[in-house]
Symmetry: C2
Subunit: 217 residues, 2 copies
Amino acid sequence: MKTQKEISASVISRLPRYYRFLCDLYSNGQKRISSKELADIMGFTASQIRQDFNCFGGFGQQGYGYNIEQLIGEFAGILGLNKLKTAILIGAGNLGRAVASQMSFEDKGFKLIGIFDCDPLYKGIKIRDIPISADDSISDFCTENKPDMAVLCLPADKAPDMVDLLISLGVKSFWNFSHYDIHRKYPAANVENVHLSDSLMTLSFIIKNSDTGENYD
Amino acid sequence: MKTQKEISASVISRLPRYYRFLCDLYSNGQKRISSKELADIMGFTASQIRQDFNCFGGFGQQGYGYNIEQLIGEFAGILGLNKLKTAILIGAGNLGRAVASQMSFEDKGFKLIGIFDCDPLYKGIKIRDIPISADDSISDFCTENKPDMAVLCLPADKAPDMVDLLISLGVKSFWNFSHYDIHRKYPAANVENVHLSDSLMTLSFIIKNSDTGENYD
DNA sequence: TAGATTGTTAATCGATTAACAATC
DNA sequence: TAGATTGTTAATCGATTAACAATC
């Protein structure tokens, strides 16, 4: 097993995109692709694509290009999508329910095994066959089921205590939709933040700057 | 009005974060901050913060630091949050309803003025006092109300036609939760993509690499 | 074989960090 | 004034692009 060393943040940020575009191409029936062609589709340079791919190994063939099906397999491995990870959802509000019902966790190797909310209103309602449970059952559930990851869809003010609890119960990874900065207190935790409001502010910035006549594409 | 020139993508990506942290500090009652202190909180270097701020002007005072309230005002202006932009939501499924009901559009200068879905099941249901309308009323609505931005919460297969329609109706900006690549066909459009599945794959990658013993924080 | 395209090294470009004079 | 901290220039570092020999 080859040890990956020092993959830069820039490269990492492009990996899911490669996977996504390659899956699209494959489902359109395409079998092979050159770095040049992929570059045109994705808006990168061919050089960059070859550099990125060669962080992980020589997947191509001179004079031919890359086999798309093989590449998809390689990237699935690189991203760890084939590795089973159990997940729980904390917070069954609008966003939590949307994430639980729409996100294809399975495609990424995650299995959702529990949903929790402090509001008794939701208790017993099922999403994808998983009943929403009360917050106070989290400890027992985690002790028994040892989930790997928690999706945090709860308000920022409730997040700190919840993270303390989950960390103490052995949860090491977080998909964090709240605005609580987990890394500050727990630098060793695996954290991926989703800040929808940051994204909307970025759009606001883009719009403002396009309005002033600066071109922006 | 000073023309902004050449703000790099790296700087832009940090702007919402600055705004968010500064608002937090302000709501905690803090009045001033030095680049050093902000750097410690945000995990940046003080140098970088001063460089970033000075893309937009000299907001600080030697020997004192930065006035937080003033900075928030500056960043609101930079991000265009004070500029009113009207928005419509396309797609009132789980995710669309979550975004419509939870996102504070107003804080970012956006006003949600219409919600549309092709499923007649939703017709008439109100979210935040805005009734969900049928898809076929979009043309008339846009002609009359000229929305600036559309939030796309519809499936990728329906996105291309919808974007064609919206562009033809004068919509120039998109907050795009679908996986359709708008920029490819419309490079001049203002687009901010939200790819939740990319984010989840990134977490999968982080988890996989933490498991192999590589440390990752 | 000839043509195409990779893998990889070298060159360029840009972003981050360090340093320090200016100044509040 | 002395101390602190900015604004800004210079140095470093890393990422992207270009080039080309290797090879299918």
